[in-house]
């Protein structure tokens, strides 16, 4: 029996990929990320047949499309619909990675800081690049809001730079911490239940308490899985504001 709650996060190499002379190990994390990506594509390929009267699965897809499209329009504005495919992709990738991680024996790819930081840095770099392409070097005015007395800029510019730099980190840390903490908690409760049963006697009866706890945490984890995907997507939209609204 695996009794180490952190063992579930171990990266194991499955085989080596040789891409353009680089040795890239294909790990269990890569495998489950690939499974998440394929199941997103599979979900939409199988369920969106374009029937006039949608079935259950098709309306699930259509509702999520509308939900995310409205989110982008509301938080950033209709001009940001150019970025809708990105927001949609990142939402569904995180959602599926989280949900697949909930099933037994699966590896939760989003419980690794490396994965979430990669997603977050990509998002922020996209905001920076799109902002500079769209506004030119005027984009850097987001660090210096207009209409302040000159001495204030000495204080405001470092503060704005720090709060901008902390964005990718908050994005990454939040997702990673939620997924890791949830899975550790789940494992601890389960181990405790197994431990009590192993003790036998009256303690075995007391195992009902951690089992109930595990059930509660599983429900909470499903909520968190969806919620964190949503939070990541809506914050992407919020940060996309900086591409379009430089004078805020």
């Amino acid at each position: 029996m695996a009794s180490d709650p952190m063992e579930q996060f171990q990266i194991k190499k499955i085989f080596d990929l040789d891409l353009a002379g680089l040795n890239i190990p294909f790990t269990n994390s890569s495998l489950w990320m690939a499974i998440a990506a394929i199941s997103v594509i599979g979900f939409f390929a199988l369920t969106t047949k374009g029937k006039l009267v949608p079935g259950r699965m098709q309306s699930l897809g259509e509702m999520s499309y509308e939900f995310l499209a409205n989110m982008v329009k509301d938080t950033t504005g209709p001009e940001a619909m150019k970025f809708f495919p990105f927001v949609f992709t990142i939402f569904f990738f995180i959602l599926f990675a989280n949900l697949i991680g909930m099933s037994p024996y699966a590896f939760t790819a989003t419980s690794h800081l490396a994965v979430t930081v990669a997603l977050a840095i990509f998002t922020i770099l996209m905001v920076v690049v799109a902002g500079i392409i769209k506004n030119g070097f005027k984009w850097f005015k987001i660090f210096a809001p207009s209409g302040l007395p000159i001495p204030m800029y000495i204080l405001i510019i470092p503060i704005e730079i720090i709060s901008f730099l902390s964005r990718p980190i908050t994005l990454a840390v939040r997702l990673f911490a939620n997924m890791t903490a949830g899975h550790v908690m789940l494992k601890l409760f389960a181990i405790f239940a197994a431990f009590l049963v192993g003790k036998g006697g009256i303690l075995a009866g007391a195992a009902i308490v951690p089992v109930l706890g595990t059930m509660g945490i599983i429900a909470l984890e499903f909520l968190v899985a969806g919620l964190q995907a949503f939070v990541f997507a809506i914050l992407t939209c919020v940060y996309l504001n900086d591409v379009y609204h430089v004078d805020h």
Partner: protein, 123 residues
């Protein structure tokens, strides 16, 4: 088709659709949820957002200060300044986020549809 008096009435397909729409609306209104439908989940999301923003801003400020200290060999002065700036940045972004959340959740049409002021009303 015949109506109640046994007369033949012709319904255009559009009126059929209209009545269907009305019935769908009536059926939907039975299952109508309270207005704030994305509430319970996003409260937890809000809490996470605010707390991580504050914490990470301080860490980023301190980290930048530490890096600059290493660069210039001025341990620990820039670190301390960076900590202060980080804290300020954290407070600022938390306040900004909270303000935005208020705007969204309150959704009060300020300055519109308010009851008239009855200042000249003496009774």
């Amino acid at each position: 088709m015949t109506d109640r008096n046994g007369q033949f009435t012709q319904k255009s397909p559009s009126s059929d659709l209209n009545s269907l729409e009305q019935r769908v609306k009536a059926a939907k209104s039975k299952h109508e949820k309270p207005v704030n439908d994305d509430n319970s989940g996003s409260l937890l999301g809000m809490a996470w957002r605010l707390s991580t923003e504050l914490l990470v801003s301080v860490l980023v400020g301190a980290g930048l200060g530490y890096g600059l200290d290493k660069l210039f060999g001025t341990n620990p002065w820039i670190l301390l300044v960076g900590l202060g700036f980080g804290f300020a940045a954290g407070i600022k972004s938390v306040l900004r986020t909270a303000e935005k959340m208020d705007e969204i959740s309150a959704d009060i049409p300020i300055g519109q549809d308010l009851p008239q002021d009855d200042e000249d009303d003496d009774y």
